[in-house]
Symmetry: C2
Subunit: 222 residues, 2 copies
């Protein structure tokens, strides 16, 4: 039974929506290697402490950003001798979606950057961010995934804007509303309307409890 000297880590790609664009959370590295540079939040798996790799990822996000993401999904595992200068390493990477409202007052060691303006990142973090975006955009085409970027309550026009920001293309209003209706995951908040503009107020919706933790899939996309 070989005792392998593999460095076991987790990294997290935390995405949110701000100013109509997807943002990814970066953390300033406190220790070598690459101390002082911005990278994905990550850390070693603590076997004595963590129930599994997902628990490690939750711990890392709690420690670095003080966030408990409502949606967290395993993205993939990256490994090899070259990605970390300390030696053969393995990173289980998770992808988190968080409503912007939960990310107020981030500390000094973390920041959000537009996914279209991500600087060069250490390790293979650049490729990891790309793969996360690919996954999120892919799943958004046929599932309810983007609702996890919204807060508790939201209007259908707001939700459509979120889908359009993630997918990067405008959507048909009638089709979008038909699909949301078919997915049957939203319920109107009785009597709750979002006013404020000089126009008809919009009905507020919330996620049905059954869909809080699971996605809803549309057979033919969108």
């Amino acid at each position: 039974m070989p005792h392998s000297p593999v460095l076991c880590t987790v990294d997290a790609v935390l995405l949110t929506l701000q100013q109509g664009a997807l943002q990814v959370l970066l953390a300033r590295r406190e220790r070598a290697p690459f101390a002082g540079t911005w990278a994905l939040p990550g850390g070693f798996i603590h076997p004595q402490e963590d129930a599994d790799a997902q628990a490690s990822a939750l711990r890392v996000l709690q420690d670095k950003a003080g966030v408990r993401p409502p949606y967290l999904e395993q993205l993939a595992t990256f490994s090899g001798p070259a990605r970390d200068p300390r030696g053969w390493s393995l990173a289980v990477v998770y992808c988190a979606l968080v409503p912007a409202e939960r990310l107020q007052g981030l500390g000094d060691g973390v920041r959000l950057v537009n996914v279209d303006e991500v600087p060069a990142l250490p390790f293979d973090h650049g490729a990891i961010v790309c793969q996360a975006l690919e996954r999120v955009r892919g799943k958004s085409q046929y599932s309810s995934l983007p609702v996890h970027l919204c807060g508790e309550q939201f209007t259908l026009p707001q939700l459509q804007a979120v889908y359009e920001a993630v997918l990067g293309e405008p959507l048909n209003k009638v089709s979008f509303r038909r699909k949301m209706d078919e997915l049957a995951m939203l319920e109107p908040v009785p009597g709750a309307l979002q006013g404020g503009g000089a126009h008809r107020p919009a009905q507020l919706y919330r996620l049905r409890p059954a869909f809080r933790r699971s996605l809803s899939l549309s057979p033919r996309g969108l």
Copy 2:
């Protein structure tokens, strides 16, 4: 820099099609724990030897089954303190698709079992097989994935039967051929027909070279 005592392993779910049904490859465990029982082929990552976890999976499949699968995809990573009695472990699991013709003359330590008749497996291998089937069936609904279960050359009726076996439901012949045409990944083998029956012979097709390593996706499924 903590030296984590995490057991780093890879497991492989190798699927093939035999007698019109999906089969999964099991290997008899030679060592403890669970010595003598059937389980997914797996083993430790060898950092000195393996370029990454995928290389570990290829090495394991080569060693245990003598196979180099034409299609190999990372499924997910499973981890925790309870899945392996030796301690906190982490398994990067890969899913392989192999044409049945490449699995002739398997040794004594391996066997194929129908995925509907998989016995209770040690570790969390039962759940892993379920997740692999879910992934393969899901992807088969909108991609060219099942072609990797066919040999070099095949007819369209044969390919349709493969899709039907994987998906577990009959497909419309006209729609299926339209989709295969749209995917533009197959080319007829000039002058090659599959005869043998008392009926019109079928055109043989092969995968276009550009699609040997990548999948082709259909926007609206099937």
